[in-house]
Symmetry: C2
Subunit: 112 residues, 2 copies
């Protein structure tokens, strides 16, 4: 996982905010997480991803997408579905997924 900020195009676009608390133990989590980023990046409508986790604590992954359809197609991806199921059963003690429409943005790179 890169530590760079995502560079999405001008809003509007969509964000999927995935927050989670891990269970104890690695159990293949790191390899899956890397593979999911690799796989998501190949999906139509993928715009970028940012991910951070407090050591031993809360994790936040935000992926950016061109449309709701792109998000639905990624959710339905076969390999991703296996990861989602394994996540519910094995990797996550608690999680929440929020789908949001990015309406505006600004930052250190913008003219704001």
């Amino acid at each position: 996982m890169s530590d760079a900020l995502a560079k999405a195009p001008e809003p509007p676009y969509y964000a999927v905010i995935f927050t989670s608390l891990r269970t104890e133990g690695e159990r293949g989590y790191g390899r899956m997480a890397e593979r999911m980023v690799e796989l998501a990046a190949q999906q139509p409508g993928f715009l970028g991803v940012e991910s951070a986790r407090n050591p031993g604590g809360l994790g936040i992954t935000v992926s950016y997408w061109a449309s709701e359809e792109a998000i639905a197609a990624w959710k339905a991806n076969a390999e991703h579905q296996i990861a989602q199921e394994t996540g519910k059963r094995t990797w996550y003690a608690d999680y929440c997924v929020r789908v949001a429409k990015v309406e505006r943005e600004y930052g250190s790179r913008s003219v704001y």
Copy 2:
């Protein structure tokens, strides 16, 4: 900063996704970050906050708000404005703020 997941009400509501890369050195950052969470929680329309940072790397803070007006009032808060200015000058090598409308959510606590 708590490691719990935020419990917002039913969508729609708003998310402010703040991603950042820190500069070197502490320079009062931790104390300011704690104070901003304390202060934000007192603002009208505040629904919750989640924050994570990779050791030495990318940080993501997502705060949740009842309305665009609540976000604007928080951005204009005098103490928060000082923190924003100090952030630009001192704490952040790079940052991005995205304002997004949460349209739906699901997770381990929902009936989904």
